[in-house]
Amino acid sequence: MTIAPPAPKIAPPAANSGGRGGSVTWMAWPALVAFLTFGIVPLIGVLLLSFTSWNRLSTDIPFTGLDSWRSVLSDPGLPHALWVTFLIMALSWLFQTPISLLLGVFIAAHKRYRSVLAVLFFVPLLLSQAAISITFKALLDPNFGLGAGLGFEFLQQDWLGNSTLAMGVVVFVVSWQFIPFHTLIYQGGIRQIPASMYEAAQIDGAGRVRQFFSITLPQLKYTVITSSTLMVVGSLTFFDLIWVLTAGGPGDATRALAVDMYQRGFKADLMGPASAIAVILVLVGLALALGLRRLGGRDATASQLEGL
């Protein structure tokens, strides 16, 4: 280091910094370091593990090539787990998006009682997923739950013991927790829309419904994409909630990929196949995130406010 002659200091060409003076790439370092340490390094570890047949106990890890991948890909449990994952994803998107959008519109208006409600709506998001799941599990208990306690016939279903109902409960509880979050995103998006647009529409004689479909919805295009990306990619990792509510059951009715991964890895001690599923989860998540970005059109930075 000390042997090298001091490099002549030449000012970088101005074009490089865009005229703002000084490079700002260093600002990305803290995030990059954290991402590499906690995102990429474990990911590489999992990728390597998927080519082994480690059993968690042994301190040496046998390399077995594609064995784990072969066993996972030939297992009928994998298409089932994928199906369950996508079903939860689709149903929770279908359930959450319209409700969050409408609630977002509702609380975006500057009225005091709506601000109070907005705070109340936010409460479920503050609770831990495990706590929510335990509570719902207790409420839905077929013998000691809400239905049995209040004596309402329609509540006395086998909520978590019937395959269809259990799936519905999982989707409901997920939505119950995350609707506030997406409502908040939509509220922010709606408040960004210039009021002049609505004023112009009013002058043209557009009603509230027409305004919603012709101004609010198109203007929220990127908000919808952001919110959907979070929902879709987030739903891949639902584990704690399903684990506490149904443990993947009844049978394997709610055994999503993340649950399948846990059971293989931490219950059956098959770290190789579990890691292979983890890699599949990452790939599916990346593909979905990229696909949703594409939906936003070629140029995601294009302005929506042209002509204003």
Partner: protein, 438 residues
């Protein structure tokens, strides 16, 4: 401590596995094992066991100022995960508490625990005072790898006497009687059997008994021994069919597949009179006496051995369950720690500890413990358990504990589907045959 906490936190994610793998593979200054001659000892928290285990350690530490035992407690499921992660990372405690059988075998296969056969040879007195049956799950390939301890816990059929009196029924002694009284109990709007089906091993106990009563211990033994297509045995298929018949006849409480055993909701169903019977481990007695108010005091809890099955060849005295709990010595612990651990083993199940277990409704695995039972207010139940355990021609081990974790997980998965009527007996046998010997 820091490092271990970090591993714990990340254990939930697959990333944790990778980190643990990258961790030390050689001997390390681990915190789990304790330091110097201090031996680490991890066991399950919660009543009734925790205070008794803690008491045994406290008495040992008081009597031995040299090598001490350092205790860390965990909840059941957390313990299983934590221990495996610690073993994989080379940081397990000196004394490993466990259930013996397949789990112990997986430690043995990975050279994680010490062979204690010679030590028991030199200390015959330690070995001879315990139930011989308790050494079954501690013995792998003819060698003893664990010290049996604590209590024997057979699975028995509990019933609610009040419900049976009201309906003028008597507890079933044959499978035919079981099928016979199910509609009668259902007619009274009471569930015939309570079951915490989401826990899966609870369902498994039914199959363990049915297989044994129909075809004897040989049926499962052939699976355990790795015989090809062992699950296709006619006795096995009959057992699987019978359990589905019972499910179809609404033999189990509504919603059983969403009830967990951890929450003790299955026990509550029995003592609250919402279910008439429950097949469960003898530890249920302690739970019911703690949570069931005066249910036991009022003499409402009945118990019998599992019914016989007509035409079955299994001995009706056979039982299944836990023949004991097991303590192994971590192979990577230092010699001083191992000495402390062995010294601790010889101090186990002294009179105070035996008395402690008896008070929780458990029968210690010590020969002649029945003499101590008479003084207990729970002597009827304790004598029943002692008699079931000591007179059993065969004391079967829980299947999920006898098999390797990999095969056990497949088994539990298929049992859940079988009880959900999602798969037929033959499909069950087919998918189980594929994992025989794995």
């Amino acid at each position: 401590m820091k490092r271990r906490n970090f591993l714990t936190l990340s254990a939930g994610a697959a990333a944790g596995a990778a980190l643990a793998a990258c961790g030390s593979s050689g001997p390390s200054e681990s915190t789990g094992t304790g330091s110097g001659a201090e031996a680490g000892y991890w066991f399950l928290s919660g009543p009734p066991g925790e205070p008794i285990r803690q008491g045994a350690v406290d008495r040992f530490n008081k009597a031995n100022t040299g090598g001490q035992i350092k205790v860390t407690t965990f909840q059941n499921d957390a313990y299983k995960d934590k221990l495996k992660t610690a073993l994989g990372a080379g940081q397990a405690p000196s004394i490993i508490w466990g259930w013996g059988g397949g789990g112990l075998k997986s430690y043995v296969d990975n050279d994680q625990v010490d062979d204690l056969t010679d030590w028991f040879g030199q200390n015959a007195a330690v070995k001879d005072r315990l139930f011989p049956a308790s050494f079954g799950p501690a013995t792998i390939n003819g060698k003893i790898y664990a010290m049996p301890c604590e209590t024997v816990q057979p699975i028995v059929l509990f019933y609610n006497k009040e419900v049976f009196d009201k309906l003028k029924l008597s507890p079933p002694t044959t499978w035919g009687e079981v099928m016979d009284i199910v509609p009668k109990i259902n007619a009274a709007n009471i569930a015939p059997f309570s079951l915490g089906g989401q826990s899966r091993w609870t369902n498994m106990m039914w199959l363990e008994f049915l297989f044994d009563r129909i075809g004897g211990p040989e049926v499962f033994q052939s699976v355990f021994d790795g015989q090809a297509n062992a699950w296709n045995n006619p006795a096995s298929l009959k057992g699987l069919t019978e359990i589905q018949n019972l499910i179809k006849a609404n033999g189990f409480v509504k919603g059983f597949s969403s009830i967990t055993a951890d929450s003790n909701a299955d026990q509550a169903l029995l003592y609250r009179g919402k279910a008439a019977m429950m097949l469960h481990g003898s530890w249920s007695y302690g739970i019911i006496s703690a949570e069931g108010g005066s249910f036991i005091k009022d003499g409402k809890l009945g118990y019998v051995n599992f019914p016989t099955v007509e035409g079955g060849t299994g001995d009706p005295s056979n039982t299944v369950g836990n023949a004991g709990q097991f303590l192994s010595i971590y192979s990577k612990a230092s010699d001083a720690q191992k000495d402390t651990a062995k010294k601790f083993f010889t101090s186990l199940l002294d009179d105070t500890e035996q008395q402690g277990w008896i008070e929780t409704g458990g029968v210690p695995i010590v020969k002649g413990a029945d003499a101590k039972l008479a003084a207990s207010p729970d002597k009827d139940f304790l004598n029943f358990i002692y008699q079931v355990s000591s007179s059993a021609k065969y004391f079967g081990q829980s299947w999920d504990q006898a098999l390797s974790p990999t095969a056990a997980e497949t088994l539990l998965d298929n049992i859940a589907k079988l009880f959900q009527l999602q798969i037929a007996p033959q499909q069950f046998a087919d998918s189980m045959n594929q994992v025989i010997g794995k």
